[in-house]
């Protein structure tokens, strides 16, 4: 077949395309109009105005700004951070005055009551409190550990659920087209449902605590693992698989020796990614009652205990930051399994 050679023309006659087509310009205009309408609805203009006002206040251009007032109020109550915990001595079971926990001490505060007749506060006695200087910090740290545990178990649950999902989502392993599409659909479905929604449902079923958190994380990530594992298995090099299959090795053996070694690096990367994001997600799952540090955060926010909130946020931030540094440094070595 002879290659088609175009008739030679002068370069001055070559047809050049216009840099902008009318269609492109109209599309841009249409998008701009839509965004403008949407901006009004989402109060983008107000957001810009308020932010600018706040910035102006920060550099001393104005004396009053709504955002700045809120900021000042929160900051005033957030600092100093609360690390200590005070407990009424009378409410501590088995309290022994001569055997206080380490670093802790006792304080007394007047007990006050509002007298309705006189219309003022009156002192009715004294209450003794046990103060543990790092009591609240310790409490929050333990909540953080609980959150990490939720993330670990959520990831493990997702892995367990993803094995059948991945198996049936892979051509060559699934039973038939029906099971293939069903498994793929389940993978999409679990990924499409946000964890918070799943967690709310699980809280209704299992009550407050870590159980709904673990279930929500596991459910959501199972679809992710299932889909990505299946894709990688399907894309694995066929050559080695054929070579082992031709000697009479069964599907499971071929998978173990010709597929698994090929996909291990990607699998490890996925697990690491999901682990990292599960830690971040688990911190907020508590807000809907699913255990962990989020529950603590939510409770303190509702009470406007901003100094406690700040402590909690600090712990979350430091933990996520440290974990990310660790995974970054481990990543290179883990891939080389």
């Amino acid at each position: 077949m002879a290659e088609q050679t175009p008739r030679p023309t002068s370069p001055d006659d070559w047809r050049l395309r216009k840099p902008f087509s009318l269609k492109l310009v109209l599309t841009f205009l249409a998008v701009a109009v839509c965004l403008a309408v949407s901006a009004r609805r989402t109060e983008i203009d107000k957001a810009i105005y308020q932010t600018a006002e706040g910035l102006a206040y920060a550099v001393g251009l104005t004396d009053e700004a709504e955002v700045a007032t809120g900021w000042n109020n929160v900051m005033a109550s957030a600092f100093p951070l609360t690390f200590s915990a005070e407990r009424e001595v009378t409410r501590i079971e088995g309290f022994d005055r001569n055997d206080l926990p380490a670093f802790s001490y006792l304080i007394s505060k007047p007990e006050r009551e509002y007298d309705l007749d006189r219309g003022e506060w009156i002192e009715t006695g004294e209450i003794e409190y046990l103060v543990e200087p790092f009591g609240y910090l310790t409490h929050v740290l333990w909540k953080m550990v609980e959150t990490l545990e939720m993330a670990v178990w959520g990831t493990l649950l997702a892995l367990a659920l993803s094995i059948p999902l991945a198996w049936f989502s892979t051509r060559g392993y699934t039973w038939n087209r029906g099971t293939y599409f069903l498994a793929r659909a389940v993978c999409s479905f679990t990924r499409a449902l946000p964890e918070l929604i799943v967690a709310i449902f699980c809280v209704l079923l299992f009550g407050f605590g870590t159980i709904p958190g673990v279930l929500a994380l596991g459910f959501h990530c199972a679809g992710f693992f299932g889909k990505f594992f299946a894709d990688d298995i399907e894309n694995a090099d066929r050559g080695p698989q054929d070579a082992l299959r031709s000697t009479g090795a069964g599907r499971i053996k071929v998978f173990r020796f010709a597929v698994l070694p090929q996909v291990t690096p990607q699998f490890v990367a996925y697990v690491q990614y999901i682990m990292e994001r599960n830690v971040r997600t688990a911190t907020v799952l508590g807000i809907v009652g699913a255990g962990g540090i989020g529950l603590e955060l939510k409770g303190r926010l509702d009470l406007s205990d901003y100094s406690h909130v700040a402590t909690t946020l600090l712990v979350i931030f430091v933990t996520v930051f440290v974990l990310e540094q660790i995974t970054q440094s481990v990543r290179g070595r883990l891939i080389d399994v």
Binding site: T247, A249, V254
Partner: protein
């Protein structure tokens, strides 16, 4: 006869006939080379032997048994295979790659745990020594070996189950000429030592003549030459590759599809 092709035909679509009515027998212990250019149907022919493909017509008999799905579990472990692209698992160690050839002989549970009995592991070591690799290669990844070394590992893998037949599909097509000779020599030595029959496809005439006991020449899915290596002459070469006169710049042995005067040539392919 040990291996028989009985009027074997394999087509992939209406007009894509890869193997077109091939009949020949291979006696036990022979080093038989299937020679032909790319697309002559050599690979298809080999894959019909170990059941990776099923013939559209005719049949292949291996040691008196017709190769078909029902008997594959018995037949396949008796047939080793060496591939053009080596087809090792890149991230597995050399040792595990060789052992992977013995998967049909161990239980699924043992396979999942990656456990092979010590006698298999010892045999893998002996085979690796035979193909010229040493202890230092055992736990190296296959991906980190040179092409020639990878093919050595692949040969060791093909022989791990003491196969009666070894299929070699263009085993040296991805290797340089020097290494090609070494590898073919190795394949022949191994087959002698283990008393295995070899059915090896090649496209290089020189290598076929040098190493084969017998050459089966294929073109467009049909046999155009069948005889001892020493009988493979210029006429046979022309019938195989359709070269009228080797011209300057045309490397002999290169497929030459568009040669219009071919039909008028007195030594042209009789099948055409």
């Amino acid at each position: 006869m040990f291996l028989r092709f009985i009027d074997v035909r394999k087509s992939f679509a209406e007009d894509a006939v890869a193997v077109d009515g091939v009949s020949f027998d291979v006696p036990r212990g022979q080093f038989c080379v299937v020679l032909g250019s790319s697309g002559a149907g050599k690979s298809t022919l080999l894959r019909l032997v170990n059941g990776m493909l099923e013939p559209s017509q005719g049949r292949v008999e291996f040691d008196g048994v017709t190769v078909q799905r029902r008997v594959l579990a018995q037949v396949q472990p008796c047939i080793g295979m060496v591939h053009q692209q080596f087809n090792l698992v890149p991230r597995l160690s050399v040792l595990n790659n060789v052992l992977a050839g013995a998967l049909p002989k161990i239980s699924t549970l043992a396979a999942l745990c990656g456990l092979f009995p010590i006698d298999l592991r010892r045999r893998a070591c002996r085979l690796l020594a035979e193909v010229g690799l040493g202890e230092e290669h055992l736990y190296r990844r296959a991906a980190n070996l040179s092409g020639g070394q990878q093919q050595r590992v692949a040969i060791a893998r093909a022989f791990i189950l003491e196969p009666q037949l070894v299929l070699a599909d263009e085993p040296v097509a991805s290797l340089d000429p020097e290494t090609s000779r070494v590898i073919l020599q190795l394949l022949r030595d191994e087959s002698r030592q283990h008393q295995s029959t070899v059915l090896c496809s090649l496209h290089q005439v020189e290598l076929a003549v040098e190493f084969a006991d017998r050459i089966v020449g294929m073109r467009h899915g049909r046999i155009v030459f069948d005889g001892p290596a020493e009988e493979f002459d210029e006429a046979a070469r022309r019938s195989l590759y359709g070269l009228r006169v080797p011209r300057g710049g045309d490397a002999p042995g290169e497929p030459h599809e568009q040669a219009p005067p071919e039909a008028s040539s007195p030594e042209s392919d009789p099948a055409e």
